[in-house]
């Protein structure tokens, strides 16, 4: 396709085809310049606040935004702040457990939805898209109502169960996308060579699905570590996660420590996202 050439904009095509038309050319240039400018400004808008926050997490000043010199003091303090370390540990525990859960459940569901035909499929398809449509705040309060009505004490269990509920559909989608491109003849070859269904699944299907599963797992992990709203409503005494800790710290007032922990969380989840995407791309068929 022509998109790999040096022409960038729609109207640029025209420039190539009819280079002799000067009037045309004059009208084209501003268009391309405008697109470049808008794109650069948009990316600056998306990234400037993040970068500035990270920069100021190294600022040697208790308050204000005047640069007073470089310091790692705020980061050093983070690692001495027991409440924060506890919250981070709780976030990790919830993320590991809920990722394991949503990977297993999401993969099984993807296999069922992609490989089998059944009558209620449209219904489940709709239900699996619900997390995209239902506002997080409604999902959060509905789970709160549910656990309160059922008389379940809120804490680790309610956090893990809720995190599985909202991250499982993302694993499902990632794995199903990979299953959709799956070359079924490889499985048939295995069966022709005498492998039974279980061996075929374990030795052929699962390894080929792995990139999709791992990439889904990384997304589930990121979603869990980052989640604030749903966790806020379903958590209980002694189970404040890191985003909840950050939220209550922000409510008390902004401190350089909050900037430092925010910067670390940003870098952490950005790393996971990049890893997940690279994995998806490198192993695409």
């Amino acid at each position: 396709m022509s998109s790999d050439t040096s022409t960038i904009v729609v109207m640029g095509e025209r420039e190539e085809i009819f280079p002799q038309e000067p009037a045309e050319r004059q009208r084209i240039r501003p268009g391309r310049l405008a697109l470049v400018t808008i794109t650069l400004l948009t990316f600056a808008f998306l990234y400037a606040p993040i970068i500035i926050l990270v920069v100021f997490s190294f600022n040697d000043a208790r308050t204000g935004a005047v640069w007073q010199g470089f310091t790692l003091d705020w980061y050093a303090r983070l690692f001495r702040n027991e409440r924060l370390l506890d919250a981070a540990l709780r976030s990790l525990i919830v993320a590991v457990v809920s990722t394991a859960g949503s990977v297993v459940i999401g993969t099984l569901t993807a296999l069922a939805m992609e490989r089998y035909r059944f009558r209620s499929k449209t219904f489940w398809d709709g239900l699996l898209y619900m997390p995209v449509i239902v506002p997080e705040i409604v999902a959060g309060v509905s789970l709160l109502l549910f656990f309160a009505t059922a008389g379940v004490e809120r804490g680790f269990l309610t956090l893990a169960v809720s995190h599985i509920a909202f991250s499982m559909p993302f694993v499902y989608l990632t794995v199903r996308a990979r299953l959709a491109d799956f070359d079924l003849s490889i499985e048939e070859a295995a069966k022709d060579l005498g492998a039974d269904e279980w061996v075929t699944f374990r030795r052929i299907t699962l390894p080929l699905l792995m990139p999709g599963i791992v990439s889904g797992a990384l997304l589930a992990f990121t979603l869990s570590v980052d989640d604030f709203i749903i966790s806020f409503f379903v958590t209980g005494k002694g189970w404040d996660t890191l985003p909840i800790y950050i939220w209550s710290a922000l409510k008390r007032g902004v401190t350089p420590e909050v900037n430092a922990v925010s910067a670390m969380l940003l870098v952490f989840s950005a790393t996971l996202v990049v890893a997940s995407l690279i994995l998806q791309r490198r192993h695409s068929y």
């Binding site: 790999d4 993040i50 935004a65 569901t109 239900l127 506002p135 705040i137 109502l145 997304l219 940003l266």
Partner: protein, 287 residues
């Protein structure tokens, strides 16, 4: 023989579908049904949901205070959707025409804010716009202003926050549909004498409608129910539906009323989703 195979297939399907189905029903569908039920309940002395059933919670939502709140939330979210669309379209267009290597890098740059912590990202914007934040410090030191600009705690601040937070969710679906776009259509239109504006309105927009619709839903739904953005950027002075719901389940401890508002919010979102599927299907039929 065929019978047993079919039976075994059925059992396999049951085993595969059971955990996911169980989870979605128990922790997604059932809680939402519970919201519906509790929205018709009253409260006991300890302000817990209790019988008798009542319509009072819905009557309360017809208070002009709450009607205005709904109108404000929906209006601000529609405005957010429109602004993100206007910004994201040229960006996606630019990205889709880049060489493959650059396209991948740009996609990654959109994906990072798409997936990373929404709370922290919104806080980063709030930090930037604070009275003693970097922008005001810069303006003061350049002598462009004598006293810090009050940028937070206004509807405008919430709008900026929403646009900032949701922009990646508009760029990505637009980019996906523009990437698949058949550019010879543009040439065809221009060869037939259409100018740039006409080509955009009559060829590009209709053909990229699925991406526009998907992006609009992905932006509108979280905006209309937003809590973090309105809380951080509105500084407690601006109110939206999401914040009222959080209050009813927090300090006010009025779960039945909070449920009624949640249900109305779900209706707004469902209407948006229905428009999405309606228009989306119409577009496909027209092709």
């Amino acid at each position: 023989m065929l019978q047993t195979i079919r039976e075994r297939k059925g059992l396999q399907l049951l085993g595969l579908m059971l955990p996911g189905g169980f989870w979605l029903i128990l922790f997604f569908a059932l809680p939402l049904t519970l919201i519906f039920a509790i929205s018709f309940m009253s409260r006991d002395d300890l302000s817990r949901p209790a019988l008798p059933l009542t319509l009072a919670n819905y009557q309360q939502t017809f208070d002009p205070l709450y009607i205005n709140l709904f109108l404000f939330s929906v209006g601000l979210s529609l405005l957010t959707t429109l602004i993100t669309l206007v910004i994201a379209f040229p960006v996606a267009l630019f990205m889709a025409r880049l060489p493959k290597r650059w396209r991948n890098i740009m996609t990654l740059l959109v994906m990072i804010p798409f997936w990373t912590n929404f709370l922290v990202r919104t806080y980063a914007l709030q930090f930037l716009m604070r009275a003693n934040g970097p922008i005001n410090t810069l303006l003061l030191s350049l002598g462009l202003t004598d006293e810090p600009l009050q940028m937070l705690s206004t509807p405008f601040a919430v709008l900026i926050g929403l646009v900032y937070g949701e922009l990646p969710f508009m760029i990505l679906p637009l980019y996906t549909s523009l990437e698949k776009f058949d550019w010879s259509m543009i040439e065809a239109a221009q060869d037939l004498g259409a100018d740039a504006l006409r080509t955009l309105a009559r060829v590009m927009l209709p053909l990229t409608a699925p991406g526009i619709l998907a992006g609009s839903i992905l932006v509108f739904v979280p905006s209309v129910g937003s809590y973090i953005t309105v809380e951080l950027m509105g500084g407690g002075k601006i109110n939206m539906i999401g914040r009222v719901i959080a209050q009813q389940f927090g300090q006010s401890s009025n779960w039945p009323f909070g449920s009624a508002i949640s249900l109305l919010l779900m209706i707004v979102v469902t209407v948006a989703a229905l428009i999405y599927f309606r228009v989306g299907r119409g577009e496909r039929a027209a092709l």
